[in-house]
Symmetry: C2
Subunit: 346 residues, 2 copies
DNA sequence: CTTTTTTATGCAATCGTTTGAATAGGGCTT
DNA sequence: AAGCCCTATTCAAACGATTGCATAAAAAAG
């Protein structure tokens, strides 16, 4: 034993009692004399005894560990979600093991395998951009293995999900641009296989429609990679090629919005007077760029908290009880900053 | 068993052989007939058998899990370190369990307890701002428990550490400001109990001295909290109160630099023409703010890789072999952007 | 002074796997 | 045909803890 950690056996030997007596004494079982309890506890204290969680896991077929699968920690949003998860997990005596997929399906598959080998009690998943087939999840769900999907949720049956109201967030953002007087609004869309991308696109379209603005299909630009460079390039191209230039941009995330803003500025146009820009997520940098970026903030921490709370509920169900599929939708908040203020309100 | 996962026992029963035969067949031990091996492997495949990592951990007193203790995931730098750690851990069959201290000593202590209970094979630590006493680490080190400290390293003996050359980074940053013609350079310092803060301060002082500039103690402003608001406030106060106003700011991190820049701008001064600003860390947002922030970039990913490589080396040592204390120092890179370019080079 | 009840403790199986030592059976040698 | 050596397999202990059941001793009841 690396740490020379004391075990129940050590205590038993030292006190000349059986293992079971020690075990029971430590947990105040009835039927152990006070004298023995005292002695056992004293020695345990002295030897700094701590139960071996691995042995307990094996015995109880329960590891008190949950696995979290996310695309990337460096994404500000995901890192706030992790904080929320950690907070609740910790408070309930659970450990969190983390795997990033780096947006790779292969990584997602192998991470899940690794986590199952380690007997995690449940999984919290936000799948990769490459994931288009959900068999690896349905297989587990069929076996009643607890999974909660968050943010990026699959369109399959009987799942428990936590998302943000992407539709409404996008709708509000786009409406805000329209109300500010921007009429020709382009959309930098996210990867098509993510539900969130579609929902945001739908919100964008609905807002246009509700304001009787016809949408221009050429102005919906998918940004599959999601880097600032990508949206910079695409935005530049959009503004250079088109005759009727857009005067507003709603981007499905802040990185894309930042890239777009740089592209617009590089063409000599001013934000917000010539072009209004709104992003999505409220990254840490969004309030610091110039002009500060209007955006739709998502409650990441809260999402983490909610997701793990649901998961713990599922884990604590009796073996044969099933859970009811549900989707918890958290509300977003439109944060208006300079980048979209055409109308100066005094 | 929640997953109805097949065990060695199931295979043994089905094929009417003993547990040991199955175990050995699966790992191609000599002395098992090819026929038996074939049958065992076939059935294992069919039942989708995967060894139970918990049982293995117990048997081998080795969990193939390492614990990572960091202040906060939302810090861009730390999240890149995590990526580096994960990458190497994963490639070597190790799992990573993560705890954030949120800069609280209490959290640090309880996280370490929890991780030890879970029999982590080693620890990767960047301690909290509150940590001033290192007994909880020395106790473990004395027992030969593998720990590698990264970024924030304690000043105690016989440790293995990975840091960045904070002194040189700060020296370079300050020298750069001086060379650009800024002569009155203030420093927004980090928490005093962190070595990195002191090293950066030292680098700043050394650069001033080497350029024969006398430092003004009032211009060294500790920012213990580390938020943008804090440095905004302190910077504003500095510029309002002093008669001889600084024309340069070297901040010990980018968040502080960003706050300072906003404060300066709010006072009607221009960056970089009136005041030059350089930060530390190269956060994601640093290139996006206006003007883009000059900063000292730290190789976070590489730091993670190096730290876990060292840890795995320690873990793989024989029981009684000791390791030699050492500190790996990674070099920083000065990234010059607009915020510090007084001299316009064409 | 038995018999019954209570109290305190021990035994042994179990969780899933590994591994040193034991063993059964077949073929070979002499 | 006795002895010996392989080869393929099994036994059993171990990792650290829990827990139903058995049991010994002490106390209470008759």
């Amino acid at each position: 034993m690396k740490l020379g950690q004391a075990t129940i056996k050590d205590i038993a030997k030292e006190l000349n009692v059986s293992l079971s007596t020690v075990s029971r004494a430590l947990k105040d079982y009835p039927g152990i004399s006070n004298e023995t309890k005292r002695k056992v506890k004293e020695l345990a204290e002295k030897l700094n005894y701590r139960p071996n969680a691995i042995a307990l896991s094996l015995r109880k077929s329960k590891s008190f560990t949950i696995g979290v699968i996310i695309p990337e920690v460096v994404h500000f949003f995901f890192s706030t979600v992790i904080s929320g998860i950690e907070e609740v997990a910790f408070a309930n005596g659970y450990n969190v093991i983390l795997c990033q997929t780096n947006e790779k399906l292969q990584r997602e598959l192998s991470s899940i395998e690794a986590m199952l080998d380690n007997q995690v009690d449940g999984l919290l998943v936000s799948y990769s951009k490459e994931t288009e087939d959900f068999n690896h999840f349905t297989k587990l769900l069929k076996q009643n293995f607890p999974i909660v999907f968050f943010d990026r949720v699959p369109e399959i049956e009987n799942t428990v999900n936590v998302t943000v109201n992407d539709f409404k967030g996008a709708y509000d953002a786009t409406s805000h641009l329209i109300n500010q007087g921007y009429k020709n609004i382009a959309h930098l869309a996210g990867p098509k296989n993510l539900t969130i991308s579609r929902k945001r696109l739908d919100g964008y379209l609905a807002a246009l429609q509700d304001h009787s603005i016809k949408h221009n299909p050429d102005w919906i630009i998918p940004c599959p990679i999601g880097t600032q460079e990508e949206s910079f390039e695409f935005t530049k191209r959009l503004f250079e090629n088109e005759k009727a230039k857009p005067d507003g941009i709603f981007a499905s995330n802040d990185i894309a919005a930042a890239g777009a803003m740089m592209a617009v500025k590089s063409l000599g146009l001013k934000v917000p007077s010539d072009v209004g820009v709104v992003g999505f997520s409220d990254w840490q940098f969004s309030s610091m760029i110039d002009p500060p970026l209007s955006t739709v903030s998502q409650p990441g921490f809260q999402m983490g908290e909610k997701a793990i709370s649901l998961l713990l509920e599922m884990i604590n169900k009796k073996k044969d009880e099933t859970w009811t599929p549900k989707t918890v939708v958290l509300e977003t908040e439109l944060i208006i900053r300079k980048s979209s203020e055409k109308i100066i309100t005094e």
